[in-house]
Symmetry: C2
Subunit: 460 residues, 2 copies
Amino acid sequence: MTAPGNKVLIATLNLVTSDLLAPGDIGLSETAWLKLGLQDGAQVELAHPAPLNSLSAVRSKIYGKVLDQKALDSIISDVSLGKFSDIHLSAFLTASAAHSQDASEVLALTRAMVKIGKSLDWSRTPIIDKHCVGGLPGNRTTPIVVAICVAAGLTMPKTSSRAITSPAGTADTMETLAPVELSLAAMRRVVESVGGCIVWGGAVALSPVDDVLIRIERALDIDSDGQLVASVLSKKVAAGSSHLVIDMPVGTTAKVRSKVAADRLGSLFKQVSNELGLNLRVIQTDGSQPVGRGIGPALEARDVLAVLTGSSDRASDLETRAIRLAGELLELGNAARAGEGVGMAADIIASGLAWRAFQSICDAQGGMRVPPIAAHQHPVETHRSGRVASIDNRRLAKAAKLAGAPASKAAGIDLHVSLGSVVEANAPLFTVHAQTHGELSYALEYIQNEAAIISVEEAP
Amino acid sequence: MTAPGNKVLIATLNLVTSDLLAPGDIGLSETAWLKLGLQDGAQVELAHPAPLNSLSAVRSKIYGKVLDQKALDSIISDVSLGKFSDIHLSAFLTASAAHSQDASEVLALTRAMVKIGKSLDWSRTPIIDKHCVGGLPGNRTTPIVVAICVAAGLTMPKTSSRAITSPAGTADTMETLAPVELSLAAMRRVVESVGGCIVWGGAVALSPVDDVLIRIERALDIDSDGQLVASVLSKKVAAGSSHLVIDMPVGTTAKVRSKVAADRLGSLFKQVSNELGLNLRVIQTDGSQPVGRGIGPALEARDVLAVLTGSSDRASDLETRAIRLAGELLELGNAARAGEGVGMAADIIASGLAWRAFQSICDAQGGMRVPPIAAHQHPVETHRSGRVASIDNRRLAKAAKLAGAPASKAAGIDLHVSLGSVVEANAPLFTVHAQTHGELSYALEYIQNEAAIISVEEAP
């Protein structure tokens, strides 16, 4: 449908045989009225949609061809115009995962994704940024790292995504502490006034197809290397970042399962970012167990606050990781000399400067919030006494998702132990949090039917 | 949702806050009422759906694993229960196309598809069958072949599919001549009374997931070797066939583009059918140009009738192909001696016996119909005189689809030339048939924007 001002919409045409509409008249949904910006009585033109030529490129990918810039531009442009159905989106992502994408294709995909979105240009440098490739429940260092770096005077306009296959993304967690759906103009005002932000990337449309693709990847529970690198780097380029630290947790049940896989993914990140002129450092971190205690938006937010306020029961592993990453960024951004970043980051937390910076960011984003607490909480106990020998991140994350996270912000898992903890029989290993009884049962049923998600070995 | 009698339905739960329903009450769609066979006031139980474990198998396939019987059983069973969304169906089919499936996997897939459907057992032998792998517009030999074989006394319970990526499947074409949506019981009555039938396989539920998968393949315009073999053989096994001839047109713009591809596909057909105890013969045929003159359900039906009735303007290429295939089947089914099948088939047509058998089949299926004629017809002319040098099957098929085929039965393309035809400038090469003005324009626009679909070379 073409409306005045050449506005175009792809719609389903339903024929009406009653007298609801006069012959030649057309009715539109609220969404269509808004998108076309129409007045009542306006003239519109109808035609069949043009055949979707970018599907040939999708078929080439299915059969293993490396796609070039032109092919990826046509696919991403059609995706952004809403021309791809779920069937087509799923085929594109599945084919991309099935045939691993080389650096040239990932670079082309990244550029295609940047082209169709808005881009930010900051009239200062450096613009620092961080990203965690995920897969480690509770690894919510971002709000702490941003607070430290902003307190040190660096500029850090952080956009985060919502969960892809995990129980919480940084945007989901941060949303329990402050509004994260800011416009691009509002985001710019926040960064210019306080030096940094932590907002949802989808709302500022820096890489508008990213959330379209993520919805499909979540349904399939896949996240391929090429798609991951393009998704991350397209948002960083569009956000105007110049210096970037990648946190890459490595562990048998993390997203990146081995050193070999981490090196391969890190190398892809470096090849593509070099071509894009991004200064990037990849940090491989321990991915053997969750970070902090909470898994799920509100429970993770609680852990973040404990570290920032220096609470006596704060999770020291979360604090240590945040300090390490912030230290790298302080050095990369020339706020600290080589070797002095970690010490400086620790001082900024201990002095309360990071907590003050975080509050000012929340205030600037629309006001600080108190994370919700779940209506239903149910402890899961160990049957025997001994020492915690292993924790399955994937199944723990799955249980948190079945309990309702991330859609239900208060839902998730609260851990009471970590690797090596000594426990008595019948002591709680973790507590399931859920907002409804149904979701609680759903998670508990999964936990009971699985082999121990946290295994306890008898002490010798 | 679980209803009395352990009937289960997966549904979306919408919460109502108005007084439309009393607390604890639930309303259902018409479809849900029917599926659960409920009475007003019945008690139902609600629970979250169990997590879809077969998705792990789909993910394994994405990453290139060969799936075993157990994995494919779980996928196909979940598909048949409606548990796969379009996203999941598309990922399964895309991954299967991206990593070519070996014979063991295709055999397992075929068996999984047979298991979840009904199967026919005929108390006689042989039960003969044919299948064309498609890709050649207008290649509508099936009704003629069935008529010949039935006239020769063989039993041929033919189930056909609707179009996957073509402008017409045999079921679409046959539907313009007689009802094709018969129940399994009705199909059995037809075959027992007249010796054969030509019905839509989807209606008799011999391979119920097949049409679910075909809907997705059509949207993606892909049809992989493994999926094709499993789709065909699962229906043949379920239909109780013992002897099968495969018509495989080979040509640069047919579905099978080269001798190498044809040999590979033929070998996969043979390996899998051997394991299934099916006696199968693959016939490679000329796929360089369309067969007959019509492309689209009604236009192809017209060509079929012309051959059966011995009309003077019948398409001789269609007749020759049908006789060749019928000849192979007459020999395979022991109705003719080796080398005598083709002659016998020709005699059966010439004598009018095939036409009589075809009429009795149509009558038994519910009564013969007259194919519709399109409201709009528009000739497409050659700009210069000369000789027809090439015909692009794919783009001709696409034009027929844009004109409305197969959903619009009368729509399609009527060819006036074939390879080698000598034409004068401004002579019509083909006529586009469409039921609506919009569809006609849509097809003509495509034809005008493409390089010549039928190329004419000036005589030297």
